[in-house]
Amino acid sequence: MQINEITWQAAGQQGEGLESLGEILASALNSFGYYLYGFRQFSSRIKGGHTNYKLRIATKAIGTVNKQCDLLIALDKDTMSNEALAMTEKGVILADGILAQEYEGKARCFAIPFTDIAKQYGSQQQKNIAALGCTAAVIGLSEESLIGILSEKFSGKGASVVNANLAVLKAGIEYIKKEAPSLINSLALPELTQKEKHLFLLGNEAMGFGALSAGAKLMAAYPITPASEVMEYVVKNIKQLGGQMLQVEDEIASCTMAIGASYGGARAFTATSGPGLSLMAEAIGLAAMTENPLVVINSQRGGPSTGLPTKHEQSDVFAAIYNTHGDSAKIVLSPSTIEEAFYDTFEAFNLAEEYQCPVIVLADLQLSLGKQTIPVPVYDKMEIRRGKIVGADSLPPITAPEYFPRYSLATTDGISPRVIPGTPNGICLGTGLEHDESGRPTEAKAMRTKQTEKRLQKMATFLRKYKNALAIDAPYKEADVLLIGMTATRACIEETVDTLRSEGIKANHVQVRLLSPFPAEEIASYLRQAKKIIVIEHNATAQLANLLRMHIEQCPHLENILQYDGDIMYSEQLLKLCKEVL
């Protein structure tokens, strides 16, 4: 049987090597050119606790996972009462040993002694590799295609470990051949004729890579789920670029340190999640007031407080836009795919320097921890723009007590030229207090008013120029429905829209990629073209819908689909909910 996509899943206890099983399988499939999307569900524990790794394998680009699964590797009891109940009609379960007896669902369930195979040919630890062998046999992946990847992965552990893994792999394949021959190639994908080279990476890695590509040389951060992979990626790669990643004492320090570094002329950033963003509120205000560039990556998880550390949510929208006090000018980008996460993070550094303000790249757990095949970023598309920096060559001589007018009001776009400390004839002051054009504290009413307007003017300038505020798929001038989402719901909404259109419903889709300043004018035109508008978000307070209502004059009625149970949204489910509204 030939099919165009498979959803494969392994589920069991944390610490059983499920993630590395998924990674090895994905590496092999990526080398053949298949399109992949991997997603892991886990709890805040190191060992123990039920977990799963889902991998969707397709012959065309995909950006999320399905709810249902075609091939399930079941390694613990919990799997039989959870993942095993969400199987497709053609679905196959390979359950470890006696677990199969507990299955009461409709899918074909086979008892496979993964643990025994591993023990016999290697060690119990390698039951994930036995499962890899069995998977390979079912989806038609050759032993040869896995040997190189396994050898490389375990090369650091010595030849005996490599050989044991290879033996267990072979034993897994052989077991299916002998004991369940009907499964051989039963879920095989068609061979791809075009082999495009793709990257397979986490959203967090894409953002770290985007930062390094943009010339970021200092990252200061504090570990937090689901953002830590940004630090872990950056620390591996930043040294060779002459930069540094610092794990510091808290998020107040990390954010303030990044501002100090960017004031000093470097491109600097931090990455965090909601609890860290709350602590950074103070520093973000400092960057806004002193007009220093700052890039903060915030990956949303369930809140408030410690909330749901390992679960998906989009409830930091208001926190990202408003979390610091005062009238603060800042930019909030919300990339909606892993590819956009790369480019938006890259661009965040340009915007932070051009507009001399904090830029928050607002991701969410699915975007951060989803792992996807994406095209290689286009080198020529990347351009570094540093905005108005004045060097020593263009500065007239000054002596004490004259200052360079760092906060000059002689600007039409709100952006005053800045100097990097250490530049001769550029001495200036900065302060979190309201200040005059030289950065000296002042309470003078006229100056206060003008400086406030200058800072806000920058955002108006930015909004006029920015081209990537929305991702638009809106072919209908008179649409039956407009679906609006943000961040990682993009692919899920796209698939839902495809289905609606195939059923004759004129569905438009707008994914909001810029949350502050809000692109009200641009989005308003799409609102007026639709009979019904559904705003889809992962929070309980309809934060995106409320932004629309706040910014759009005479905003039409908005329907909401809200999910806040910690799970990601699946297109099967979204389709059903949309139809209820329609």
Binding site: I259, A268, Y403, T423, T431
Partner: protein, 287 residues
């Protein structure tokens, strides 16, 4: 060669007449001259409080940050711009209350910058509340029946954190303070200079006279060995922290810059597109 005049900006400080901070300002200006700095080669990073206004009173690059955060800002600045002389300043509320965590970790990190802490045992700018350095029994607007919380020992804390340069000065002893700041800036790593800088308005207990009677210069202590941390700690305990001079220096612990490799390869000032081959290398990580 820059002169004292080159570091003056003619701004009249908003400190009370007689405040100890005037002398700290002067000592910093004199130290900058002694060190042969030009004003544009110096950046002062301050926190919030009376002391925090100092960056606005010296002609150099100045950044007046948020309460307690001068050190995180200063560390980022120094790493990003290693040629710059970075001096962070703040008071005992700034560094020992709201910013205590940063102070401790900045000491551990040992980045090559100087922290001048102006210690008056009281909150001045908010008009007289208790500080973590206030003595037991000290009466303020927020401790009307006297402070009951043990005062922080800055010196013991710094030693516990592994400080590599620890000095303590007293505002009226201007030349000694200047020399301590000069030595601190020259120290290859994090240097802490705690300065007793009396508040003449809100602290009627720990006055100039009070300090003058009690302070002992380590030069006057027989066989004082500033490289022996244990012996230094004993002296600090014995004198209840009321010492002046270069109390401790450890030249064996390399700076953060040395240990991280940044002293050999620091490209922070180079903001440009990655070379194509470097970009390709990063791309290949994900195949």
């Amino acid at each position: 060669m820059a002169t004292l005049q080159d570091f003056k900006n003619n701004v009249k400080p908003n400190w009370c007449p007689g405040c100890g901070d005037y002398a700290v300002q002067m000592a910093l200006q004199k130290a900058a001259v002694q060190l042969g700095m030009k004003p544009y080669e110096l950046a002062l990073v301050c926190g919030i409080g009376c002391s925090g206004r100092l960056s606005g009173y010296i002609y150099a690059y100045g950044m007046h940050t948020t309460h307690g955060r001068a050190l995180p800002f200063a560390q980022g600045l120094k790493i990003a711009n290693p040629e710059l002389n970075v001096i962070a300043c703040g008071g005992d509320g700034d560094g020992m209350a709201i910013g205590m965590g940063h102070t401790f970790h900045a000491i551990r990190r040992n980045i090559n910058l100087t922290y001048v802490l102006m210690d008056n045992h009281v909150y001045g700018l908010t008009k007289g509340q208790t500080s973590p350095r206030s003595d037991l029994g000290f009466k303020t607007k927020t401790t009307p029946t006297g402070n009951i919380e043990t005062p922080v020992s800055t010196l013991e804390m710094a030693l516990a954190a592994g400080v590599t340069f620890l000095a303590q000065g007293f505002s009226p002893q201007l030349q000694e303070l200047t020399d301590l700041i000069v030595a601190a800036v020259k120290h290859p790593g994090f240097s802490l200079v705690n300065v007793f800088s009396p508040c003449v308005t809100f602290n009627k207990v720990n006055t100039y006279e009070w300090f003058k009677d009690k302070l002992v210069d380590v030069k006057d202590i027989a066989e004082y060995d500033n490289s022996d941390k244990g012996a230094v700690l004993n002296q600090v305990l014995e004198h209840e922290g009321l010492l002046t001079g270069l109390l401790h220096q450890n030249l064996k612990k390399p700076s953060y810059e040395e240990l991280s490799g940044l002293s050999k390869n620091n490209q922070m000032q180079s903001v440009k597109k990655l070379a194509p081959e470097v970009f390709d290398k990063l791309v290949k990580n994900f195949y």
